[in-house]
């Protein structure tokens, strides 16, 4: 992004709305961001921050009555929001693939994992059935599934949680996408399995060269995989920075609060012992506080913060922040 090369994905002024009883929720409320090729952008936020909706919008998978109300999403030369459904289907899988927290949402329970991955090779690479199945087995082997030739004949429910996650990754990467969207991919996993999956994702990224949009509520996990981190709150991006800089010197009071709330192992990582909760709750999306959306929970908020909403501005060093009080 900051090195002057074209971004792989450019999202501009994206607005995603969901009509609900009593109004319209702007789940993603006019946000702009870029994803650089071959890099990992981490997206952090709590429930209701809009982080998952922002990701689903990239694939145009917003379930009605929700809709992308305005904005643009460019992938290279393509303007994704103007493609017809058939072209968009080709983009999904071939150019952008997605993995989820719960693999059973992506894997079809009535087909074997080998057959499902082979289908990707047939559809997107035009391989014959036999060759496609052989490629599927090779892919299962590549993601670290033991005895892949026999595992390929298993149904998803016959695999353990970690193995299912690996199978889903194999399917997502089968068409060699330019961008992998990973929405809480390790949240349902145990820590030792989470470590395996994070390592696998980093290895495959180095090998296949795809960009990754890594969404998680867990800042510690994101900090272990991301090059850049974007923090979302109540539908807006409040801060974006290179990962190390964001953790070492968060500029937005919400980011500071999130970091102060992450438990660390005192004996190993030094650390806190004392943690600080962010007071209050995430605001009701139909009754956002006036001005800055974080102002009702912010220790620094003053009348200016309650009067106007700060824009996300560049503050140098590849960093952006939306706060009147932030001093780079």
């Amino acid at each position: 992004m900051s090195d002057g090369t074209e971004p792989l994905v450019a999202v501009r002024d994206l607005l995603v709305e969901f009509p609900v009883e009593g109004g319209v929720v702007r789940a993603v409320d006019v946000v702009s961001y870029d994803i650089a090729a071959r890099r990992t952008l981490g997206v952090v936020g709590e429930s209701g921050s809009g982080k998952s909706v922002a990701a689903l919008a990239l694939l145009r998978l917003i379930a009605p009555p929700g809709r992308i109300a305005s904005g643009s999403i460019r992938l290279g030369d393509l303007d994704l929001l103007t493609l017809d459904e058939e072209d968009m289907r080709r983009v999904r899988g071939q150019r952008i693939a997605m993995i989820f927290q719960e693999p059973m949402t992506a894997l079809n329970p009535v087909f074997t994992v080998g057959a499902q991955i082979a289908e990707v090779f047939r559809l997107h690479r035009g391989l014959a059935p036999r060759a496609a199945f052989d490629e599927a087995v090779a892919m299962l082997d590549r993601v670290g599934i033991p005895a892949p030739a026999s595992r390929a004949h298993d149904y998803p429910h016959e695999l353990s949680g970690g193995m299912r996650q690996r199978a889903m990754i194999a399917m997502a990467l089968a068409a060699r996408p330019d961008l992998l969207v990973a929405d809480e991919p390790t949240t349902a996993l145990d820590v030792t399995i989470q470590a395996q999956i994070l390592d696998l994702m980093l290895e495959l990224q180095a090998e296949f060269g795809m960009a990754v949009l890594f969404i998680s509520h867990n800042l510690a996990v994101v900090s272990e995989v991301a090059d850049d981190i974007m923090v979302m709150y109540a539908g807006r991006i409040v801060e974006r920075a290179p990962a190390d800089a964001l953790i070492a010197r968060p500029l937005h009071p919400y980011t500071q609060g999130l970091i102060a709330a992450v438990p660390r192992l005192a004996a190993r990582d030094g650390g806190a012992g004392e943690l600080h909760a962010i007071p209050g709750n995430v605001p009701n999306p139909l009754a956002l506080p006036p001005g800055c959306r974080f102002s009702d929970r912010c220790p620094l908020a003053d009348d200016g913060c309650r009067a106007a909403e700060p824009a996300l501005i560049d503050v140098g060093g590849g960093r952006q922040v939306a706060c009147f009080k932030a001093r780079p």
Partner: protein, 337 residues
């Protein structure tokens, strides 16, 4: 010496096997496999482990939701195993449970005051005025406003609901709270507030806590002692500082190493080598022979595949640090991972 508040002795819980119907595969799930653990008055004991290790079953055994298959569970020195439901009631009052999901564990049709008052009704405690007083007292202990007592669960956020669940557990003035992953369903910014609440209950009321969690970083903030479970066994138990300073079981080391670190930067190839736990937890229907951890253990030797190690003292540490590993002293000597 007075008896510990809660004492589990060689507790075993087996469930009849999983698969029924067309694909029947008879067998027994060894959920808890000979666990001995005590919780003293005012003490916080954490049980950590990954899914399927038996920690939730252990919590449910401790509050009497399941009868054990074998072994004894004693509260204040009385074995509750042989008691009739009626005789059990006063013991149930002393041990209360808090569940992970504050959305599923509160009756949506009752206002908060009725949810909090229900245990008093069940146990036939107090008259109308006394109940009202205790409801307000419990609400105050968890920082709920009196004005919120007439509202219904759906009007509250996840963190607030967990406060209601804790208030309901407190209303019987128990000696011990058993909390099964009480933070896992909450947002990060809310978790710490609930954790602080548990610490305050311990400090202000001297309540003992059996805290079940998968998250070592959370446990580090609250536990006096920590027990690590794997496949139905306690593989290591130690005072908190000993466990992190000199973990004596390879599984504990792997668990600590797998906790993500903030501020270390991106995982390098080194991280992979350090995590170094290959494979999955074995099928509890078909647990391995010998040490339950040997199929994933980087140190496993022939002995481990034949002989299951017992939970025994770790020479390097003080009393109370025990591990079930043939090489516990050598592992502890490695220091913090």
């Amino acid at each position: 010496m007075t008896a510990p508040l809660l004492a589990l002795s060689d507790v075993v819980k087996h469930f009849p096997a999983g698969r029924a119907g067309w694909f029947a595969r008879p067998g027994t799930v060894h959920a808890v496999n000979g666990v001995t653990l005590e919780v003293g008055r005012g003490e916080t004991v954490a049980v950590v482990g990954e899914s399927g290790c038996g920690k939730t079953t252990l919590a449910r055994l401790a509050v009497g939701l399941y009868p054990p298959t074998a072994g004894a569970i004693a509260i204040g020195g009385t074995d509750i195993g042989g008691l009739s439901p009626k005789a059990l009631k006063p013991y149930r009052r002393r041990v209360q449970m808090i569940f992970q999901d504050p959305f599923g564990s509160l009756n949506p049709r009752l206002p908060v005051s009725a949810i909090l008052g229900e245990p008093l009704v069940i146990h036939g405690l107090g008259g109308r005025a006394e109940r009202r007083r205790r409801i307000e007292e419990a609400a105050q202990a968890v920082a709920l406003q009196t004005g919120q007592l007439d509202r219904y669960p759906h009007e509250f956020s996840g963190g607030q609901r967990q406060r209601i669940a804790i208030a309901r557990a407190l209303i019987l003035r128990p000696d011990l709270l058993v909390a099964d992953e009480p933070l896992s369903a909450l947002d990060v910014s809310i978790q710490i507030a609930i954790l602080d609440l548990f610490r305050a209950l311990k400090r202000d009321f001297g309540i003992a806590l059996l805290f079940i969690s998968h998250d070592l970083a959370v446990v580090d903030l609250i536990a006096d002692r920590i027990a690590v479970m794997y496949l139905g066994h306690i593989v290591e138990v130690a005072p908190r500082s000993d466990l992190f300073r000199a973990p004596a079981h390879p599984y504990t080391r792997a668990l600590i190493a797998a906790v993500p670190v903030m501020g270390r930067g991106k995982r390098g190839p080194g991280a992979a080598a350090k995590a170094a736990l290959k494979g999955d937890v074995p099928d509890p229907l078909d647990p391995p022979v010998g040490c339950p951890f040997h199929p994933r253990c980087p140190r496993a030797e022939d002995l481990c595949r034949r002989v299951a190690p017992k939970l025994e003292p770790v020479a390097l540490s003080g009393a109370g640090h025990r591990a079930a590993c043939h090489f516990r002293d050598a592992v502890a000597a490695l220091g913090a991972p």
